[in-house]
């Protein structure tokens, strides 16, 4: 039984009060923000506005408390320890940090396994290491439905494997992977696993401990939080051997002209003044989602996905990937004879926001047969069935232009 009233949720989002006739279907790119998040950020700037973990005045202490509390909320949302949460700018920075933090020569193995369905923020840092000859990269292909089997993972992972980097849910098809089982396969071979949770954490219940991830990256802005804040969750004992990506203030115990002694855990990686307001908003966003319940959100999304798929089928659209395995309301499609960009621009003229192109995952799009890109609709907890009715009405008209 889904307990979610999207019409009521809409009331929390000032965007809808100010843009009443908009149907926002681009949440996979970035989500809208509820007033709770916006007010929390504003509150930091108006009432605190000081440095955390540095200044001893009461405002500074207030900032430290607010940041700690935000870290705790984020940790609780994905069931990890507070100390394991390293704030970053976004998923991209988290992935870069995780991938570059390991010393492969000390590990004595340099094979990394990933998939063709990854976002550029996974592929490009890996390509960078491959070009420097620091790693051997194995990229798993998907089938015509956009699926990768556990057998493929089993075959690819062996004792030479140092790291697995993959998504828990992808941004091109909205399908998910059994990441808990993949983590088990990885650990059985002594490899680490790094999960790109940009889509997964925002749309499905994610459990860092239970699924036994080593690294998990996600962005605040895709899950109702502010832009410019995200995190890398990394196991505590792993953090000790990880190399920072950025060096600077707030990361050290002592510094002499000869050497620096770094702090432990997240502090080692958060150099310089941080995005405190962003972190606070991020924490509030996690609480907001938790209160509604990820199961409810997921159920609502699946319902919306079914409605959207029916509308698209009525328009004779080509829908990419498996419809049965869809875990969120994210659908990539193309209308016959129409360029994706043209379709998105036409929908935009009727105040419907969808994305078009390759969604920063060109190899994935090509692998599923969308060589020229596609249109992507992605709905979230604040989308209603009425939104999709309007989408359908306009989509059918646009389709007629190309029939």
């Amino acid at each position: 039984m889904i307990k979610l009233d999207a019409n009521k949720i809409k009331e929390d989002f000032p965007f809808f009060q100010k843009n009443q006739n908009w149907v926002y279907l681009d949440s996979a790119c970035t989500s809208l923000k509820p007033k709770q998040v916006i007010t929390a950020e504003l509150d930091y700037y108006e009432n605190v506005s000081a440095c955390a973990s540095r200044s001893s005045h009461s405002l500074g202490r207030k900032a430290t408390e607010a940041q700690d509390s935000a870290r705790a909320r984020v940790a609780s949302f994905i069931n990890s320890n507070q100390k394991e949460v390293i704030f970053t700018r976004n998923t991209t920075e988290g992935l870069n940090l995780a991938i570059n933090s390991l010393d492969f020569s000390r590990l004595g193995k340099k094979k990394i396994v990933t998939t063709v369905l990854e976002h550029h923020s996974v592929l490009l840092p890996l390509f960078n290491l491959r070009n420097k000859n620091l790693i051997d990269l194995k990229v798993l292909e998907c089938d015509s439905e956009g699926l990768i089997s556990l057998d493929q993972w089993n075959d690819a992972i062996n004792s030479n494997t140092a790291l697995i980097v993959t998504n828990s849910s992808n941004n091109t098809l909205g399908t998910s992977q059994p990441t808990g089982e993949i983590a088990k396969i990885a650990h059985d071979s002594g490899a680490f696993i790094c999960i790109d949770g940009a889509q997964g954490v925002a749309h499905q219940k994610t459990d860092f401990k239970k699924d036994d991830y080593d690294f998990l990256c996600f962005s605040g802005h895709k899950m109702l939080g502010p832009t410019g804040i995200g995190c890398l969750v990394a196991k505590s004992d792993l953090q000790k051997s990880m190399k920072p990506l950025v060096f600077g203030g707030g990361t050290v115990k002592t510094v002499s002209l000869e050497k620096a002694e770094f702090l432990e855990n997240y502090e080692k990686f958060e150099a310089g003044i941080q995005n405190y307001a962003g972190a606070i908003g991020f924490g509030v966003a996690c609480d907001y989602l938790k209160k509604i319940g990820m199961e409810n959100i997921n159920g609502h999304e699946k319902k919306l996905a079914a409605v959207a798929i029916r509308a698209l089928e009525e328009a004779g659209a080509l829908i990419y990937g498996s419809k049965e395995q869809k875990q969120s309301a994210l659908i990539s499609f193309n209308l016959k004879n129409a360029k994706p960009h043209d379709v998105a621009l036409m929908l935009d003229k009727f105040n419907i926001a969808v994305r078009s192109g390759f969604f920063c995952a060109q190899p994935a799009m090509e692998a599923i047969g969308a060589k020229e890109g596609a249109v992507r609709l992605s709905a979230y907890l604040y989308n209603t069935e009425e939104d999709l009715t309007k989408f359908k009405e306009i989509l059918l008209k646009v389709n007629e232009l190309y029939s």
């Binding site: 043209d342 935009d348 003229k349 232009l401 029939s403």
Partner: protein, 280 residues
Amino acid sequence: MTKEAFNCVFRTITLRPCDTDLEQRIKAELVSAVMPWSITLAKILNKNFAVFSWLFVILTLASLGYMLYGAYNFYYYGNCDGPTATGACILNDLTGDYGRFSSPTELIPPTEFNGITVGPEDAEITIVEFGCFTCPYTKQAESIVDSLLKQYNGSMRYVFKPFPLPNHNNSYQTALSVLCADKQGKHWELRKLVFQEQTLCSVEGSTAIEKLAVEAGLDMDKFNSCLNNQNTKNELDLYIQQGKDSHIYATPTFFIEGEPLVGPEPISDFKKIIDKKLSD
């Protein structure tokens, strides 16, 4: 979007590609605007957008061309529509040196009725025309003058004051010739021929006029000495001065019992005024 379009044009001129999806967005803008009216029309526009956009380009270039043509006409004929349009030969600042007034309300009726006159001096109606023999509009008004003279024969006096426009070639010389023909009582004969061969008169000047004078049956000795006579020139200059005093800004300009009419307007307009004056 306008700013982007200009930027795009600029980039195209400087041989760089436009860096926006401008064309696609213009297409979406136009097609979506048509959609509420007719989906069929929107479909046609959507499918043949390239054709339509070329059509727009051609139309734009064509109207630009017409604009330049209009500017050319304005320069040479004092009128944007060229020599055959219904309008008037406008005196303009580019080529004219008579000074400029530009509205019928500024016209002042002449008080002297000298000039080439036809009809009884005590007629009920006097029509004065300021005209230029090399102006296509004055030529066009000739049929009106003819009809009026016929219809109101006896009750109308017609006074023609030559007003050669300086922006028409050989206009002064032609006006002088017709004045001299009038001295021999043969002004109509030469006037008809001059209007008939208007372009030739403009282009060739005295050579063409001389031939026409012979054809009109003028006494050429008298004619030539009249042309060279300072008195004739003084007379013509007097009419020009009268025109300036009346604030004439275009030819032909008529005054029907003092009421002005500029250009070869429909004959009904003339009759309306004449009939009203007659019934007063």
